[in-house]
């Protein structure tokens, strides 16, 4: 029931968004999220957008992953999770 892949909002009409999931267009309700806009990425569950993806947080996590990879390759001394 959970769609792990975030969907991109391509259009909004009233409380319904048209979303693009890996090239497939679908509709979902926006009744459960505040301030969703076109071009936002949302997590969709059972026909409803349930959260906007926080892009800054996504980038932070990716940085953490890169730092971890650098640490295990010996490129950095301090483990990112221990910082």
């Amino acid at each position: 029931m959970c769609l792990a892949i975030p969907s991109k909002i391509v259009a909004i009409k009233d409380d319904v968004a048209t979303i693009d999931v890996d090239g497939v267009r679908r509709e979902c309700s926006l009744l459960l999220v505040a301030d969703a806009e076109v071009d936002d990425y949302v997590i969709v569950h059972a026909g409803f957008a349930i959260q906007k993806i926080d892009e800054a947080a996504a980038l932070d996590t990716i940085q953490l992953l890169r730092d971890t990879a650098d640490f295990v390759e010996g490129k950095s001394k301090v483990h990112p999770l221990d910082k």
Binding site: D54, T68, H79
Partner: protein, 365 residues
Amino acid sequence: MIERNFEAFRDPDLAKGLITQIRSRSRRPIRLMEVCGTHTVALFRSGVRSLLPDTIGLLSGPGCPVCVTAQGEIDAFVALAQRPDTIVATFGDLLRVPGSGTTLQAAKGEGADVRIVYSAVDALAFARDNPEKEVVFLGVGFETTAPTIAAAIFSARQSGCMNFSIAAAHKTVPAALGALLGRSDLKVDGLLLPGHVSVMIGVAGYRPFFNASQMPSAITGFEPTDLLMGIAELVTQIETGRPRLYNAYPRAVTEGGNPKAMALLEQVFAPADVPWRGLGRIPASGLVLRPEFERFDAFRRFDIQIVDAPEPKGCACGQILTGTRIPPECPLYKTTCSPIHPVGPCMVSSEGTCAAYYRYHQASS
């Protein structure tokens, strides 16, 4: 730009960093429970399971909504489907779950009008299109799904839709975790907490449970690096003896969760003591319609009782959902029980542990 960023969560090089870290840090044998059924499947499908060192055992928990639905609830669903002039709508997974007598699918074969929907809103559309019928949505699921049902009920009330109701068997995750950790037969060292329940209830939703149990916990997403990050975090917590409630999925999960969805849920539903498969009756672990939404309560409207019923004979689903057994330890697994002829819900649901083992276990071991 952001599309490229999301792909980073599947980047094999970044995953490799985490795997190396897990391998170097994991010393003593531990057992981690993936509470969510979607995690169970993702751990197999992504190959993450096969990349972990032998020190890490993974167990499923009570996080497959169809699987934890009690036998008596399934029977009540079937009874609703067998009513005349009724359309029941539900997510596909419920159809083949064996009730005490029959399944929804078999009832459909005998003439019941059972329809699969993607969303509760689709069921509401059936109600509008079929004013001469009663349309009942069979609602299973956790805090992720319950707000979507609440939204559908609000829409029904707003549009004055009189022939729409909900058979609500929704359940809440932290209550079940509390009950689970109270069991003496549970041997679990850490929890991968479900990503999308957490989207709704937020990190804060687990705090009372975590403070009481001090069980190492990581809220985890569904991409390969998300899964590995959750596991790496738990290994570190366990090895250092410093449990914490960690959010490894911050792009989707915030401290407070989704207040709009939770407010809607709380307006429509009230907590109730409900039965879980494998866990029995847990105080305040279910969601029933509040008195002001009583007319949308299908059980009340059609006077259908949920009666405790024994689980299928020989089926170990209950033990699998509580992490005390794995599917190959069930004598019926792959003998009398298979996805074609499922004995219990854990073999039916796409999120069920037995179904996931059946599909992926050979390949990965």
